[in-house]
């Protein structure tokens, strides 16, 4: 059981999936305060309650296009500090960029819906975003990295893996676990990456993640 019990609002019009999500979150000791099926109910729930994080699907009524994304952006504009995790059937850069541009990119998550299958990692991402961190889908990071200009080619293969995980918003410990290396090795890789990409070495935690994301977003292929 985690030390933090989050108060969560979940919005998804697919009942089966929404109930599954609620089950997963409650299994990890969190409280789902509101479980709704459309953006208006979500906005009402946010107004009514003190929440730690909002989870929302993108495709919702009435038009079943990107209502959830619009709702997420609206929420962030009204409450810049409110952590929002957007789940989507597909992920792409411009939506990620729009989300990261709200509230200074703090407390933002943008993940493929598929990721909820890996329940532990998913709940970890929820907690991370609720704590003001970021969780950007590996798909988005992969396209960002593949489109980045020359300096990134100076990185070793392992360093690029670490960079991708950093951009997703993972902590040093999580990166170490994923790549099966020690924390010290991760720290060494990160220092090397920051030097090679000319990023300020002192930045720590979420700020460092945002710096990496900003670097990737600003870069283009030569």
């Amino acid at each position: 059981m985690p030390d933090r019990r989050l108060r969560i609002a979940v919005a998804d019009d697919a009942v089966l999936l929404r109930e599954g999500l609620v089950g997963v979150l409650e299994r990890f000791g969190h409280t789902v305060v509101a479980s709704v099926g459309d953006p208006d109910s979500l906005l009402a729930a946010v107004h009514a309650d003190e929440l730690d994080i909002v989870l929302t699907d993108v495709r919702m009524p009435p038009t079943f296009t990107d209502e959830g994304m619009r709702a997420a952006l609206a929420l962030r504009r009204t409450w810049p500090g409110l952590p929002v995790l957007v789940l989507s059937q597909y992920v792409e850069q411009s939506s990620a960029a729009d989300l990261l541009d709200t509230g200074g990119g703090v407390g933002i998550g943008y993940l493929l819906k598929d990721r909820v299958g890996d329940v532990a990692q998913f709940v970890d991402a929820v907690v991370r975003v609720a704590d003001g961190g970021t969780a950007i889908d590996p798909e988005v990071v992969r396209t960002l990295v593949s489109q980045t200009n020359q300096p990134i080619h100076r990185l070793t293969g392992r360093e690029r893996e670490v960079l991708a995980l950093m951009a997703e918003g993972r902590s040093n410990a999580a990166i170490g676990t994923t790549l099966v290396v020690t924390d010290a090795a991760v720290a060494k890789h990160i220092a090397s990456i920051l030097t090679k990409l000319d990023l300020p070495p002192a930045t720590e935690g979420h700020r460092r993640v945002l710096a990496v994301l900003a670097y990737l977003r600003d870069s283009e292929p030569a």
């Binding site: 089966l16 599954g20 597909y90 792409e92 411009s94 598929d114 299958g117 396209t143």
Partner: protein, 420 residues
């Protein structure tokens, strides 16, 4: 090195083979009938139809002419009033009786045109102008053709009955007249065929026919696109949601099992399989209809497709708003196809997609630094792309000299929708 323009396929110059307006029925008209022998021609019925057509022309023309003549003789009013009154009455007559009569008469000589007139109930000003031309000017010529084609041979045939003609001349003229009567079927049918062609040209100009073909193709493409969208939505609402829920349940179940046990191993495999199926389904859905295109527009969708490319792609699209869905879809598939070709065939290390809306048209250019030599006739990809672009009046130009580089340029007339 000079760019080698392999394909220049403007939408307006669609090859005639692509436009079977009435593909199933062979053309039945007067002009194709006159290529046959005299007996076959007479048996085909065209001379008789032509004869009826010309005779009816004389009737309708004479009827129209009667109006001013009657007014002049019967009314005792100033000339200006007569002229004005005659003009008004003639127009009313032609609109109410002349037009239906003229179109009905056209059926005698062009059945196909007649069906199309039936389909298009709405009357255009050009139809009225055709009737005016026919009843005021063309009927004289109809009458002339009728008189000369039939009058001369009939005059010769009647030589034996004419008291002033010498017997030897009558004996010669009579069979000659019969022969000429047979031959007169040709000029009559030919003139009526020309009349039908004229009617066709005035009533249904060629560009309208092509325009209709392009529009019907556009409707077809739209229908396909709508169907793809429906399939995408069905897969998303059904299979995808259930698979996500399944992986979630399997993921939860794994938490409760001691790691390393046989059941845990089976469950892990099942979980991995379901996750794999979900990833495959996602790719499949993306191929059927890219949701990002509907949600975020062309620039984001191209950026997305570029992000999945193995060759680094620089994207620079300045569209200034959303375009029509048909145009966005056409350009999206064009760029996707082009990028696929870059990865498959070009051996390029870099690629760029540039585009902007300028002076009412969208121009998108995909360039790479590969080996060149792309051939539109070799693969169906580029050809299909050109076909798809043709329905939005677009053009595709491929410049790909051997040795490279390759540039593919798409141009489409369009307007941006800033509100969307």
């Amino acid at each position: 090195m000079l760019g080698l323009y392999l394909a220049l396929l403007p939408g307006r110059d669609i090859p005639p083979t692509l436009d079977p307006v009435f593909p199933s029925s062979p053309r039945h008209d007067a002009l194709s009938a006159i290529t046959r022998g005299p007996l076959k021609l007479l048996a085909s019925g065209w001379p008789w139809r032509s004869l009826s057509y010309l005779a009816l022309s004389a009737v309708s023309g004479a009827a129209v002419l009667t109006i001013p003549l009657l007014l002049i003789f019967k009314l005792d009013v100033p000339d200006v009033v007569v002229v004005a009154l005659a003009a008004v009455l003639m127009v009313i007559f032609m609109r109410l009786i002349g037009l239906p009569f003229e179109l009905w008469r056209l059926r005698l000589v062009d059945a196909e045109l007649a069906t199309r007139i039936q389909i298009r109930r709405r009357l255009a000003p050009r139809q009225l102008s055709y009737v005016v031309a026919s009843m005021l000017a063309l009927w004289w010529i109809d009458l002339g053709v009728l008189v000369f084609s039939l009058g001369v041979p009939l005059f010769m045939l009647s030589a034996p009955l004419q008291p002033t003609a010498p017997t030897w001349l009558a004996i010669w003229l009579c069979p000659f007249g019969a022969l000429l009567l047979l031959v007169s079927a040709y000029p009559m049918t030919a003139w009526v065929g020309a009349r039908a062609a004229m009617a066709r040209a005035i009533l249904f100009p060629q560009d309208r026919v092509l325009g209709e073909v392009v529009r019907s193709r556009a409707r077809l493409v739209d229908a396909f696109e709508a169907e793809r969208r429906r399939i995408e939505r069905d897969l998303h609402d059904g299979a995808q949601q259930r698979l996500v829920t399944l992986t979630m349940k399997l993921g939860l179940a794994r938490l409760d099992l001691p790691p390393g046990s046989a059941l845990a191993t089976d469950l892990r495999d099942a979980h991995d399989l379901a996750t794999g199926a979900l990833a495959e389904l996602r790719e499949l859905i993306r191929g059927i209809h890219p949701k990002v295109l509907t949600d975020r527009g062309l620039a984001a969708a191209v950026q997305d497709v570029a992000g999945h490319s193995e060759v680094p792609v620089k994207v620079d699209l300045r569209l200034g708003g959303r375009l029509s869905a048909t145009i966005e879809t056409a350009v999206y598939y064009a760029v996707s196809e082009a990028l696929t070709n870059v990865v498959k065939h070009s051996g390029a290390t870099q690629c760029s997609v540039r585009g902007e809306v300028r002076g009412g048209s969208l121009v998108v250019e995909v360039s790479d630094d590969g080996v060149g030599g792309a051939d539109i006739s070799r693969g169906s990809g580029l050809q299909g792309l050109a076909d798809r672009l043709a329905v939005v009046d677009g053009t595709l130009v491929v410049s790909s000299p051997v040795g490279g580089p390759t540039t593919l340029r798409v141009g489409i007339p369009c307007q941006t929708d800033d509100s969307g």
